[in-house]
């Protein structure tokens, strides 16, 4: 963002106020159509969190991670194990969420440390393998000692609660009706805002610039005195922690998790979001995540009726169209707009030089 001319403060602040106002009113507007849409929005915002986390690794530091969903899973399972009848533990969420984020970043470092020397596509494959290994362990740690309850998943996960205030129940506050999803919505929006702010600050910080240097040319970066080892590990740890955080919220919203939710396709989906939006550009990544995460729901309400109307039956299922769109998005973006919809300034320059 810094590379562009900053808009005058008045314009900037009025735009901010407008955005904040829209975000506040949004769930009430959506409730008019149906609480479902608030739920869908919440899940979409979780993808925004994931995409922002992955953006640190892929966008800033240039390390392609195809197993990112593992951190989401680790966060979700940390929350589930510490706040469900499975072990009889019921810790409050504000204690567990940081633990989940810390667990995820620990695993981030565990993944990062042995793979520091790997670059590009080798790294991508190793991370993919790592993601699958985590999922397989989650799926199998039910025996000989039952830790994760295996494929059965964990049921009865506590929703977020502060004293008597539960995020899951319906409530009237100041005469306004708050459904469970609406309350979660505000919490998630707040988290996303913090993460965006962190991302923006990071990007222009010493660390952010060092990551950029590593991404452009690791050997040169090291020659310039950048401690590439620590910085790469930091990228993994930070990226993973956001994933872990999102995972914790996911577990609380769903109140049930199983390893099924953390499969490879999900990792690829998050990568697609980052790539489509624009690797390295925070706002681009947000845009990519919002676009792609609403696609399935929009398709469900458009493609299905349209096909019914045109052909009298469903020829192509929305799920298939969605996957085809994902695939096409990845290919077309790389071919025609390799820096994404909203390219980061640096990336744009760099790609313009190398391509064509």
């Amino acid at each position: 963002m810094s590379a562009r001319a900053k808009p005058p403060p008045v314009v900037f602040w009025s735009a901010m106020v407008l955005i904040v106002a829209v975000l506040i009113v949004l769930p009430f507007a959506l409730t008019q159509i149906g609480t479902t849409w608030v739920r869908v929005t919440n899940l979409a915002l979780l993808y925004v969190m994931l995409a922002l986390g992955l953006n640190i690794v892929v966008g800033f530091a240039g390390l392609l991670d195809l197993g990112y969903i593992a951190f989401y899973g680790i966060g979700a399972y940390t929350y589930a194990l510490l706040a469900s009848p499975h072990f009889g533990l019921h810790l409050p969420f504000w204690v567990i969420l940081p633990i989940g984020a810390a667990m995820a970043s620990l695993f981030g470092v565990l993944l990062g440390a042995p793979t520091l020397k790997l670059r590009g596509d080798y790294l991508a494959i190793v991370t993919l393998g790592f993601g699958e290994i985590i999922r397989i362990f989650l799926n199998n740690l039910a025996r000989p000692i039952n830790i994760t309850n295996g494929p059965q998943g964990i049921i009865g996960i506590d929703p977020f609660r502060i004293d008597g205030f539960s995020f899951a129940s319906y409530q009237k506050i100041f005469g306004l009706e708050f459904s469970g999803p609406t309350k979660y919505y505000y919490l998630i929006v707040a988290l996303v805002a913090v993460i965006i702010a962190l991302n923006l600050r990071l990007q222009n910080s010493r660390i952010g610039r060092a990551w950029e240097a590593i991404r452009e040319d690791e050997t040169a970066a090291r020659a310039m005195g950048i401690n590439t080892t620590n910085l790469k590990l930091l990228a993994y740890a930070m990226g993973a922690s956001f994933g872990g955080l999102a995972g914790g919220v996911f577990a609380a919203i769903q109140e049930f998790i199983s390893p099924e939710s953390f499969v490879l396709v999900e990792s690829i989906m998050v990568v697609s979001m980052v790539v489509l939006g624009g690797m390295g550009n925070v706002w681009g990544v947000v845009l990519g995540a919002v676009l792609l995460s609403f696609v399935p729901d929009i398709l469900r309400f458009t493609v299905q009726p349209v096909q019914q109307w045109m052909f009298g039956r469903m020829l192509i299922e929305p799920e298939v169209i969605r996957m085809l769109l994902f695939g096409l998005a990845l290919v077309l973006v790389m071919l025609f707009r390799p820096a994404g919809l909203l390219p980061s300034a640096v990336r744009k320059r760099e790609l313009a030089e190398r391509a064509e």
Partner: protein, 412 residues
């Protein structure tokens, strides 16, 4: 730059189409109640919405459709019967949703049914989807009856509005295990599963029952629901010389498993749960599938009441595939409870549903305290000439040969 512009325009167009579509999405829904309300007599009718949900797209869409058909039939019959509730004629409308057999989509559409203020829900199909969705129905206080989710966990959550009219895995597992133990008298049994909630859960139950009957059970072997090469696992098992092998999983993996076992010269009896209790096993394993034993929760469709079978055939011009008789009964149970309570308010009719005593297409239905069906039947099948044929029904711990069971159903 030209290319970039093109891509942006293309994308904008696609999104615009998507968004306009999104705006339109309300339209087909909004006029629906009015249109539906205009058909019944103009007298003040009670409009009652019943939700049905299952995978209508995806790999098991045919089963989802079958489930939906059962409910459609029940609703149609209820409307034709001109039921009155609270002194007013009742009109039932069906709201059908697609959960794609995906837990995440499942909770979203569950919320949508709650938004639509349905009085009761029949669904979902898969246990993995039904469990997270049940929490949403529970919060909203809307009764939900599943006709096909067999995982015990569903009714172990302590939700008083969640019911099932089909046998649980911990009824099915013991049934097939006891049958296996009684008829084949194996000394050593190998148990394999596919590491899914369904396969592992069922295999656990089978192993537990076999052990309690004094049969030696080998250490569990596992594959995944995508495993095609079972030879390493089977070779290991072969070394332990089991008399029988049980596999918890679907036909897609069970077929190759059985074929490869015969190629390795394993002569043990093979037994499967309902996921691999299909004719597809013959296609996948060929002659090797002959003689396999398997179980299905509930009674086979052909054993459902004649009235139901005829009405189903007349309406859909096909025979029910698997669970349609159960979803049919589930919808009827909701309606029956509403009649008894004289109200379609979930709060008012729920107590009646809990205490219901109903004779449906699948026999007598009563619920226990957890919401499970009392004395649910499990049917045992055998593969004969490439088709699975029912040979026995297990009910409240007793095994009844299938012919006798049919006679008792006909007599009832």
């Amino acid at each position: 730059m030209q290319r970039a512009k093109f891509a942006v325009t293309l994308f904008a167009t696609v999104m615009a189409i998507g968004l306009t579509g999104c705006g339109e999405e309300k339209k087909p829904e909004a006029p629906k109640p009015e249109a539906a309300a205009s058909t019944p007599p103009p007298a003040a009718t009670v409009e009652i919405k019943i939700g049905t949900v299952g995978p209508l797209t995806g790999s098991i869409a045919h089963l989802g459709k079958d489930n939906e058909n059962g409910v459609v039939l029940a609703i149609e019959q209820a409307n034709a019967a001109k039921i009155t509730i609270d002194g007013k004629p009742a009109h039932f409308t069906l709201i059908s949703e697609d959960d794609q057999a995906d837990p995440k989509v499942g909770t979203t559409v569950a919320q949508k049914l709650v938004d639509d203020k349905v009085a009761g829900v029949v669904g979902h199909l898969n246990s993995g989807v039904t469990i997270p969705a049940s929490a949403i129905y529970h919060q909203a206080g809307i009764p939900m009856i599943t006709g096909s989710a067999t995982n015990p966990q569903l009714t172990e959550q302590g939700f008083d509005n969640i019911f099932r009219v089909v046998g649980r895995d911990d009824q099915q597992g013991p049934a097939i295990a006891s049958y296996l133990a009684a008829t084949e008298k194996p000394k050593v049994v190998a148990v394999i599963d596919d590491s899914t909630a369904y396969g592992e859960g069922l295999a656990d139950q089978v192993a537990k029952t076999l052990k309690s009957e004094g049969v030696k059970v080998l250490a569990r072997e596992k594959g995944t629901d995508k495993t095609t090469d079972w030879k390493a696992v089977l070779t290991k098992i072969k070394g332990e010389k089991p008399n029988a092998v049980f596999f918890g999983g679907m036909d897609a993996t069970g077929g190759p498993l059985m074929k490869q076992a015969r190629e390795l010269g394993i002569k043990a009896v093979f037994a499967f749960g309902d996921g691999a209790c299909t004719d597809k096993m013959h296609e996948l394993a060929g002659e090797a599938a002959e003689g396999l034993l398997c179980s299905q929760a509930g009674i086979p469709p052909q054993a459902a009441s004649k009235a139901f079978l005829e009405a189903y055939k007349a309406k859909f011009n096909t025979d029910p595939i698997l669970y349609a008789p159960f979803t049919y009964d589930a919808a009827n149970l909701l309606i029956q409870a509403m009649k008894e309570a004289n109200s379609a308010d979930p709060k008012k009719y729920l107590p009646f549903l809990q205490k219901i005593d109903y004779s449906g297409a699948t026999g007598k239905i009563e619920f226990d305290a957890k919401g499970d069906r009392k004395d649910a039947e499990i049917t045992i099948f055998v593969m004969k000439n490439g088709k699975v044929e029912p040979i026995a029904v297990v009910k409240s711990g007793k095994t009844i040969p299938f012919d006798e069971f049919m006679k008792s159903m006909g007599g009832a």
